[in-house]
Amino acid sequence: MRREMREHVPSVLVATLSAAFGVSLLEITAVLGQIIAADDVTGRSKTVGILLGIVAFVFIVISIYVGAIVTANTFATIIAGRTRTIALLRLIGSSAASQRRGVAHEGLTVGILGAVLGVVSGTAVTVVVVTIATATRFVPSLPYTFVEPVVLLPAVAVVLTTWLASWVGSRRVLLVSPIQATGGAVEKSRDEVSGRRGRNVTAVVLFSVGAGLLGLGVLVGLVNPGGVLIGLVGGILSFTGLVLGAHLVMPPALRLTGRMFGSSATARLAAENAVRYPERSSRTTIGLVIGVTLITMFAVAVASYQQMILAAQRSQPEAYQGVDQTLAITVGVFSVLMGFSALIAAIGMVNNLSLSVLQRTRELGLLRALGFTARQVRRMILAESAQLTVAAVLVGLVLGVFYGWAGAQSLLGSIHGSPGLIVPAVPLLLIGIVVAGAAVLTLVASIAPSRRATRVAPVAALAVD
């Protein structure tokens, strides 16, 4: 039982971060609302407050969505590691359904724990921020109320999504057959995975329909800003298709990046590890793909948006006065908010990689027995981590550039003085930050697993557990 809860520590962290983010964002929005209401000039207008609320809502939904996907994948990885135990219990008569309920129960516990910790830490952050802001006279000191009932919404959402994620992630419990208690249980290989017709067809259909709608949105956007709504639907559909079909998309990307690391035994084994179990590597990377896609999409959308507004401003200067500064501030705030979802995605990836290394103890022991030096093991894990990160970042960048461009294009294609169709604007600063972030993430993600892996004694391979 203790080991089981230890496996969930990172999921609790993800749930805590999502909840804290939601709670704190709502509280700060409420504080801003109180400041605006107290101001004579803006106080009468309700619009600003409502806009703030909508923006907060969007970012909270995104962070909870990313958190849920990360958690579902973490649970799937944990279940994969428990296959032997589950099979053994099935062998002595436990039903798959009751096993799965047990896992969902763990998910509920994780969600509740994370939500409670999130409300507490999120509120603490708000109090600190507001106290500092009033102390430095950055904002007026008013009798602010922090904890309003509405802050419980993200907390409840986190509990429910974590619970749901554990349920979805534990789907593979149903696939465990009692016979697996006897043999070495292996994850599905590429052929078997590709064979799952229903899911693949759904993924492809969703993606194609979504991409079609996106294209339509861009075209409609040339004459009417309503095109962005068509594009939004297209974006959600196609992206869901991609997430569902990750086991088809990620392996080619991984194989491509795998070639970058040369052909030494360590590099080749790392590449094999990343590619042979598409399910495992897709799980490990998809959270990060989503994170990078979101950041890139947003940055490209803003840059393209800026480019279009500036073009429009040049042709009709009087209509677009003072727009630059507003843009800059919005970009700054939104980037920070987006970065938070990326952080959650990164935690998910680090955690998934550690888990999958932990589950390979015997394999690592065998490699050590056969003559892998500790250094080679470390290098192998670093290469594996780098390969996963690079593949995820590349896919995320490509998707993000496309979605960001489609968004800006469909929203602004028809404004006064618009240049029509534009080439996506890709901010170089963003690329730099993402690449640096990926490098750091690769290192961080490989620290814990490689430390653990080099501690594996060669005799561990021989221990019959």
Binding site: L366, L370, G371, F372
Partner: protein
């Protein structure tokens, strides 16, 4: 890496490995368990040696130390003329890679690699391809072990006996000084066991491969040229080639004495 022992040349004595006054204990104080209690044995070059003894007698422990997989509490172990108990982890690893082969009871193969990848793994680890004569040798192994049409299969697609044959091919591929096998037939039925044992015996008689095999099973031990008996961490008997019946009756006698 060769530390020559002026007093004793293992090559001249026809020994491929030797241990002297080896002890291994686990735990400390009153909980201490002595797994090996002053063991001194030699493994002869080109011979198939079996190490037998009741469960818990220290067979696996002895094999792990001789193969450089585990450390001794005291005493010395040599592979050829290399004293291995004083080697650093890195040197031990390279020694295992180049001069030792392994066949375990189970989980012998890297699940991500196919049969051919597993057989070539020791070369890969050394960062080289097999040389021409090594390639021919490996081809011969693959054919004689009947693995030719399985080369692209992954371990989970093979039966237990096939997996063991792949492990044997890998262990023999580098033509190591000594192959260690810990209950290599422990998971196999009697027919497959006989097959695997004949292969090991043949590689010793036909190619002069030195093999040390740990086993419980008198039938398995009857394939060996020499049999060492362990009980409570000590060597209690040493015999030449024996029939399964002779070995069984000796084991029974040992159990009665205990």
């Amino acid at each position: 890496m060769q530390t020559h022992n002026a007093a004793f040349d293992h090559d001249e004595a026809g020994l491929v490995a030797r241990v002297s006054r080896l002890t291994k204990s686990y735990g400390a104080g009153s909980n201490a368990i002595s797994a090996l209690d002053g063991v001194s044995i030699g493994i002869r070059r080109g011979e198939f040696t079996a190490i037998m003894g009741p469960s818990g007698s220290g067979k696996s422990t002895l094999m792990h130390i001789m193969a450089g997989l585990d450390t001794a509490t005291s005493g010395q172990a040599w592979l050829g003329n290399t004293e291995i108990t004083s080697l650093r982890d890195e040197d031990l690893t390279i020694l295992r890679r180049r001069r030792v082969g392994f066949v375990f009871q189970s989980f012998n193969l890297v699940p991500t690699l196919d049969v051919s990848g597993n057989i070539l793994l020791p070369f890969e680890l050394d960062g080289r391809r097999p040389a021409r004569d090594e390639g021919e040798w490996i081809d011969r192994l693959i054919d004689s072990l009947g693995l030719r049409d399985r080369l692209r299969h992954r371990p989970h697609e093979l039966s237990g006996g096939q997996q063991q044959r792949v492990a044997i091919a890998r262990a023999l591929a580098t033509r190591p000084d000594l192959v260690f096998a810990d209950e290599p037939t422990g998971n196999l039925d009697s027919r497959t066991s006989r097959e695997v044992l004949s292969l090991l015996a043949a590689s010793s008689t036909d190619y002069g491969q030195s093999i040390a095999m740990v086993t419980h099973d008198p039938i398995a031990a009857s394939y060996a040229d020499r049999i060492l008996f362990l009980a409570d961490g000590r060597v209690v008997e040493e015999r030449g080639r024996s029939t399964a019946e002779e070995i069984s009756s000796f084991m029974l006698g040992m159990e009665k004495a205990a």
